[in-house]
């Protein structure tokens, strides 16, 4: 395998940044897990640690998706990137901006007063979940994303070879960029604040990002098992179509209890309970396409692709639908049930997606014919088994919390500190298991194709 166009190699820059941040995310995640047991463990408070945990996740996934896009667009457009130096500039500018934001979080964590408003704006941390990055960083992020989109658009314009996959991919990225804007203004009303904030969060992860996932799934199925473009693209349209039809009005499931009119209970309840459908289509699509595949060279890529489809459905779909109806959500809203859903959904829908893209494109970038996939499988099972148990422990904690706090009326702190203690201990232990899996993956990422070639390079035919 090798790349068709040299500029596709830029993807590795973004992958490397993503992989390093993935490791950071999981390390701080373990600190956060230990703080559930000992709240004053570590020099930074939980709020800073959690901000780092989630922001690292969002940034590494975006970085991975950007890398994937820089790989896919030249291949689909059948030409080099419009400007490789500009793409490198965009990469380094992004790294510098993100580093500055992280240093700001840490500084504020050590000295909360450093975040005192300057001309009405908090300089280090906006204090808004997931989009904590301060306003100046928002502006830099927008510039970076616009530059990224511009480079890809100009590349597509060079040959004007429009394919469904690149169109859907870049369309999803455009919606992603646009949906960042509703989070960039201040509202005096906390209700309006949260209303627009969900436009960013929900329309990203249950809209634009799933569209991107649909496009990349189609690309990966073509690459790994040589599926026919005609067929994968048609199913891609149907999948991403249903993502949008259900996901846009599914935003309503966040508008039940934040001070919004009660018709959202109907809108959110009906549309969000349909949201798992397109994810189920994707699983079916992945199985149908790969079932008859023989002579698959990239077993690791195939594995991660199918696992992504399955865990996207289980984490985002099933763990979402269990508490999406307003009658149930009234009791579970704001509890650990949401945390459980968040962990499995992000792991299945996006972590495995970016990893699948890495395993499918990195061998070509490094120019290796075949690679030893054993580390890829080992890390997969460490991560997946650990994550499943992390999610089960948090789900258990959430069920105890809903019953004791919401139904019986026990105090939040009593439930968290006493009744859920063992869940936190187990969660931290499985967290270490997850870290081991990530560690193996990181080693594999840096060494893939660089060691001696595997002894039995024709092994894949065994199946």
């Amino acid at each position: 395998m090798s790349v068709k166009y040299q500029s596709q190699k830029i993807a590795e820059y973004f992958y490397t940044f993503a992989v390093v941040l993935f490791l950071v995310q999981v390390l701080v995640g373990i600190i956060a897990a230990l703080q559930f047991i000992w709240p004053s463990f570590f020099i930074l408070n939980f709020n800073t640690i959690r901000t780092l945990h989630i922001n690292a996740l969002v940034v590494w996934l975006l970085s991975g998706l950007m890398g994937a896009t820089y790989y896919v667009v030249p291949e689909e457009s059948e030409t080099e990137l419009w400007s490789l130096p500009l793409a490198k500039l965009q990469f380094w500018a992004t790294v510098v901006a993100i580093t500055a934001v992280v240093l700001g979080y840490i500084w504020m964590g050590l000295n909360p007063q450093a975040n005192s408003p300057i001309m009405g704006i908090n300089p280090l941390n906006e204090g808004r979940e997931y989009i904590e990055a301060p306003r100046w960083a928002d502006a830099l992020i927008v510039i970076s994303v616009l530059l990224f989109l511009f480079i890809n658009f100009m590349t597509m314009m060079k040959t004007k070879k429009w394919t469904g996959i690149q169109g859907t991919l870049v369309g999803g990225l455009l919606v992603l960029a646009l949906m960042y804007l509703p989070g960039m203004f201040y509202s005096k009303s906390m209700v309006k604040d949260q209303f627009w904030w969900w436009w960013v969060i929900h329309l990203w992860v249950e809209g634009a990002w799933e569209v991107i996932a649909g496009a990349l799934l189609a690309f990966m199925l073509m690459k790994v098992v040589g599926a026919k473009r005609e067929v994968v693209e048609k199913w891609m349209y149907i999948e991403v179509g249903f993502v949008m039809f259900t996901g846009i009005l599914g935003t309503g499931h966040h508008y039940y209890w934040i001070g919004t009119p009660s018709y959202w209970l109907w809108v959110g309840g009906i549309f969000s309970s349909l949201e798992p459908l397109p994810l189920l289509f994707m699983v079916w699509d992945a199985f149908r396409t790969t079932r008859e595949a023989r002579n698959v060279e990239n077993k690791a890529g195939l594995y991660y692709t199918v696992a992504h489809a399955i865990f996207n459905f289980v984490g985002a779909g099933l763990w979402g639908i269990i508490h999406t109806l307003p009658q149930i959500n009234k009791w579970t809203h704001g509890t650990q049930i949401t945390t459980a859903h968040g962990h499995l959904a992000f792991y299945g829908a996006y972590v495995l997606l970016v990893m699948a893209m890495i395993y499918i494109t990195l061998p070509a970038i490094r120019g290796v014919k075949s690679f030893d996939a054993s580390r890829a499988f080992t890390s997969f099972w460490w991560m997946t088994i650990s994550m499943v148990f992390i999610v089960l422990t948090i789900t258990g904690a959430g069920m105890v919390q809903v019953y004791m706090e919401r139904l019986m009326g026990l105090d939040y702190v009593a439930v968290k500190a006493n009744y859920n203690l063992w869940f936190w201990v187990l969660r931290a232990i499985f967290g270490v298991g997850f870290l081991i899996g990530v560690g193996i993956f990181v080693i594999d990422f840096f060494r893939l194709g660089k060691g001696p070639a595997p002894a039995v390079s024709a092994a894949p035919e065994r199946a």
Binding site: F195, G241, Y255, L410
Partner: protein, 223 residues
């Protein structure tokens, strides 16, 4: 279905649902201010304090945020404001078991934050958070409450104190309080907690002498 038809369905369908979403958003924006009290300068100042200290990094508000510490949407409805202020400025002085760190919140910042939380507590949230089923039913499950028990409920004591596992953890557990203190101590403490417990964050119980006596009777049964 041809690929082109599938693509058009995707694009036009998405636009159709987004148009509905925009319409609902427009309608909602016109209704939000009527479902909440007026936003004064103090409320906004408190919201700025909320963002400055990244409170949402540990707490939830309207159930959204981090699940590390209690939801604060309705907190001013069941915790005395004097307690909240002392807690915000120095958590461990108000509750020795508190996990919250001392962030350096200034006096006027604490005041603003409480005004902001008072605002959120009055927003119409379609009935969220729901009242606990079992705790609400507990008082009427076949047995008559004593006068003291009724007063304990009507004064909202259980927001901070626990009896037999039910109630708040911000104040001491009262399950066996009758074994620890006598009548004189309890009556005096109700009238002026700080005179009996150094740095006490409990507000004085503003009630007629007879009610304090009945509350004390109830406390003395807890052994």
């Amino acid at each position: 279905m041809s690929n082109k038809a599938a693509r058009n369905l995707f694009i036009l369908g998405s636009l159709f649902f987004f148009a509905i979403f925009l319409g609902l958003t427009y309608d909602t924006m016109g209704k939000l201010d009527k479902r909440a009290p007026e936003i004064t300068e103090k409320v906004n100042a408190g919201k700025m304090v909320w963002h400055k200290y990244d409170c949402i990094g540990c707490h939830t508000i309207f159930g959204n945020g981090s699940y590390f510490a209690p939801d604060l949407t309705k907190t001013t409805l069941n915790k005395p404001k004097s307690y909240l202020k002392q807690f915000l400025m120095d958590p461990k002085s108000a509750n020795p078991n508190a996990s919250m760190p001392k962030l350096g919140i200034r006096s006027e910042e604490a005041d603003d934050l409480i005004v902001f939380l008072d605002w959120t507590s009055k927003v119409d949230t379609n009935g969220w958070p729901p009242k606990p089923i079992l705790a609400a039913a507990g008082g009427v499950a076949g047995r008559e409450l004593t006068e003291g028990q009724k007063l304990y409920q009507s004064h909202g004591c259980s927001a901070c104190h626990t009896i037999n596992g039910i109630g708040g953890t911000t104040g001491p557990d009262l399950t066996r309080v009758g074994a620890k203190h006598d009548r004189t101590w309890l009556v005096g403490h109700f009238k002026d907690p700080a005179a009996f417990v150094k740095n006490s964050a409990m507000p004085k119980v503003e009630a007629p002498e007879s009610e304090i006596e009945k509350l004390t009777d109830y406390m003395l049964t807890l052994k």
